[in-house]
Symmetry: C2
Subunit: 338 residues, 2 copies
């Protein structure tokens, strides 16, 4: 049952050659070291025959490269981050990297723990979804010489490469759809304006309103809920927005949109007859809901591709200048919810 893991020395012994030779051949450096083709072939075949699999731990220890990329998301169970993980996985595995992940739950301490685990596991690079109040940890990370890049959001006060959706543009477009449809009083709902992405979305919304000369009291129509206890807090906000006479709703992310959908249904409020709604993100639910929800889809695949490419550059050449925040454009999807 317990088959012994075979290693370089085993195949070296079988062939009567040295370990070094085998190592060179198996890492494809026969040419540079002018190892004869016949010997190379023999080594390679023997390795295959014995089912040799390099011990990456040993290799990593020696070379200082683990071949692992760390991905710190808010919550891998959230389909948005799940998709992200998948694209990262695809990109990374194409380059011979494995990905290790961690979920921060928007908690800076947890994020820091994750980062430290990654560090101690010698990851070669990290992709980080920064959370509120994680500045000090992130700045500490900058002191280390390991490359990382922010995804999904950036982090105020921490100057680092980041790849995000053009959140402002998304908020602006979404809000404009509502305005064009003739809605007069548009409430905005946001998780937390402490997050740069949510912040930008609200700025887009505000900016569209300003141009339209609607909502003079716009400040009063922005409803902000923390990450926790969303359901209950959201309900009371929705209620208060309705009371204030809102005839349309702008949701800054999918969770908020989905929860609100449930609430409106419960309250028997008809969309789009009674109110109009738009939301950021494009989860399956927005397609299945009736009416379908007009939304702004983030270019997750592109974000991942770009992020990895930045990381690869940094790993190749640590002295590369920072590229700063890269804004990728998303996709307005018109459905029947307004």
């Amino acid at each position: 049952m317990a088959k012994k893991r075979i290693k370089l020395v085993d195949i070296a012994n079988e062939l009567g050659v040295s370990v070094g030779l085998v190592s060179i051949v198996l890492s494809g450096k026969s040419r540079e070291n002018r190892i004869s083709d016949t010997l190379s072939k023999k080594v390679i075949e023997k390795a295959k025959e014995l089912g040799y699999q390099a011990n990456q731990m040993a290799r990593a220890l020696r070379t200082g490269k683990s071949g692992i990329i760390g991905l710190a998301v808010a919550d891998i169970a959230n389909p948005y981050f799940g998709k992200m993980a998948r694209f990262i996985e695809n990109e990374a595995s194409g380059l011979g990297y494995q990905v290790m992940f961690g979920s921060s739950d928007e908690d800076p301490k947890k994020l820091n723990d994750i980062i430290n685990v990654f560090l101690s596991r010698q990851v070669d690079a990290m992709l980080i979804v920064p959370v509120k109040k994680s500045q000090k940890y992130l700045m500490a990370l900058q002191e280390q010489s390991i490359p990382f890049v922010f995804v999904d959001r950036c982090c105020d006060g921490v100057s680092e490469d980041a790849v995000t959706t053009n959140n402002f543009e998304g908020g602006y477009q979404l809000c404009n759809v509502l305005i064009k449809r003739g809605y007069k009083k548009i409430g905005a709902f946001v998780y937390d304006t402490g997050l740069t992405n949510n912040n930008q979305r609200i700025k887009g919304y505000t900016s569209a309103l300003k141009e339209s000369e609607l909502n003079d009291d716009s400040e009063n129509l922005i409803f902000e809920t923390g990450f926790k206890h969303v359901e209950t807090r959201l309900e009371s906000m929705l209620k208060s927005a309705l009371k204030k006479g809102c005839d349309a709703f702008f949701f800054a992310n999918n969770k908020l949109g989905i929860q609100s959908l449930k609430y409106f249904d419960k309250m028997n409020i008809k969309i789009p007859q009674d109110i109009g709604i738009v939301s950021f993100d494009n989860p399956e639910s927005f397609q299945v809901a009736k009416p379908g929800v007009t939304c702004f889809e983030q270019p997750i695949a592109n974000i991942c591709v770009k992020a990895i490419s930045i990381l690869v550059d940094k790993m190749d050449d640590a002295s590369k200048p920072k590229v700063g925040e890269v804004l990728l454009s998303g996709n307005l999807i018109i459905r029947e919810s307004c």
Copy 2:
């Protein structure tokens, strides 16, 4: 900028003690080795002061334990597996393990690649969602002395511990809801009966039908689609089922259920007026859809907890007898779709 990673020897030198001593103290073995409390404290403080972080690669190489658990799912972007990843993460990190994942896309070759990567990274254990025709790879894995457990499904022909939902029971209950509601001709849709879980669900469906003496031609009402090109193939099957006079539909997983929802909407077929539907799994979409979809929710959290506990037992004591397949009961959720 590039702060040097500090290591055992650094803190040993600073304190004028030996590396071994520091190692012992930092791995919490002061007591067993009767190191004085004062010295221990000094070492620990120095370590903190210098921001010491153990190099897990080196530790792993030495101890033969990587502290990594491999998770091979079908697709991490699928919310079902995303949730699973999250629960596994929680369990694992509580035990000091990190998780590394890979998505097989239901492709046995890819699964094998993932397993090999895990092997070469010296994972301490694996959680595997087996796919069709992966028997030979899985049996090869059994030859290795690394513990693993199947989750979500088991694998015909490979006798190994597995933790799954009671899929038969789910199929049975779901079908019975339809029968009780008075539907007469119930079509079943399934990804692939080559997957043990889908298979069991269909068996539950068939069994319920038999008891009810409905659907004598039940064999003809089971529609099977491969993993690929689901959208198009599903449509034609749905069409053909409708033509055969089906007044109710049983979907063996969330993807099928969701896609069909879209199709029925497009065709303007009303649920539950025109037809009734039930589905396995409980994605957000089934809640948001109108009408809500009656479904059978899998106990993902329990599955993960149980799977990890089996793994822990195996890691502790490799000679433990196999526990076989553990069936966990799911949750019937009645909504308005039938």
